[in-house]
Symmetry: C2
Subunit: 162 residues, 2 copies
């Protein structure tokens, strides 16, 4: 695992907030995730494949998710419905797509994207195989706190390690 791989995703997350949500997203310190997810959060994830395999997750407390989707849809969202799922799916797609472009133009390993998946509920955990490490970057924003979580395994190098 190369920690610098996370930077295009951080930059892409800030771009999303700035250009689509008209709002600054301030990042905190990168940490290593030990628990797979925070129950209650809405987790929007998208798979990465190619020379680097992994998963990018945007983890939103429900209130943040509703505000982000509401800003994208120019509407006030009260519950997590199909429109919210679609908006949040689009958000993680934009973040991953922006990072992919940065990788591919910056000489990084080429990556391809899967399809967004949204997991929500009051009691769940997201786990990865034990040989993967999962980085966590907390963010704060006017729309509420959220987290960018990312795991990578280099297909060339085999096992991903920090």
């Amino acid at each position: 695992m190369k920690v610098e791989y996370i930077n295009p995703f951080v930059a892409s997350t800030r771009d999303l907030f700035k250009t689509m949500l008209n709002c600054e997203a301030e990042r905190g310190e990168v940490g290593v995730v030990t628990e797979g997810s925070r129950a209650g959060d809405l987790s929007a994830m998208i798979g990465l494949s190619g020379d680097v395999r992994g998963t990018v997750v945007l983890g939103f407390p429900i209130d943040t998710a509703l505000k982000v989707a509401g800003r994208m849809l120019s509407s006030e969202m009260q519950t997590v419905d199909e429109e919210v799922i679609d908006a949040i799916s689009e958000a993680v797609n934009i973040v991953a797509g922006g990072a992919k472009a940065k990788f591919n133009s910056g000489g990084g390993p080429p990556i391809a994207l899967g399809l967004p998946v949204v997991v929500q509920g009051g009691d769940y955990n997201i786990d990865f195989p034990s040989k993967s490490a999962w980085l966590d970057v907390p963010f704060t924003s006017e729309l509420g706190p959220f987290a960018l979580r990312i795991t990578f395994e280099s297909a060339a190098a085999g096992t991903a390690r920090l």
Copy 2:
């Protein structure tokens, strides 16, 4: 969405059970998933990218997951621990990898695989963007029932529809 895309995954699931678990897996009728997942199930998923983007999910009731992992590990598993997560991740990786090989040798669209993710918990739902359709193939086996769920969006054709 081409329904025949599901066939390599069905064949690969049966291969996994036959060759690695020494057990026949009998498939039921293909259905369309309306609810994203069954809470309580352990859902092992892996993303597909390339000309076809999507997600493959093996959904196991906990008892089936423990038996499948136990057979893979030649041990009796009592709880969903790291070893079980790794074994179930490996199972979905084998199913997707087998299907990928069948696609790539059979003139189907080339696909690349992401990294396995396992979601578990007593209260959760897995959702996809509304333009995706999700097929469900129930299976029965000596190790218990389980389901193969798969969603596809053709990158070439844009929106996936049944």
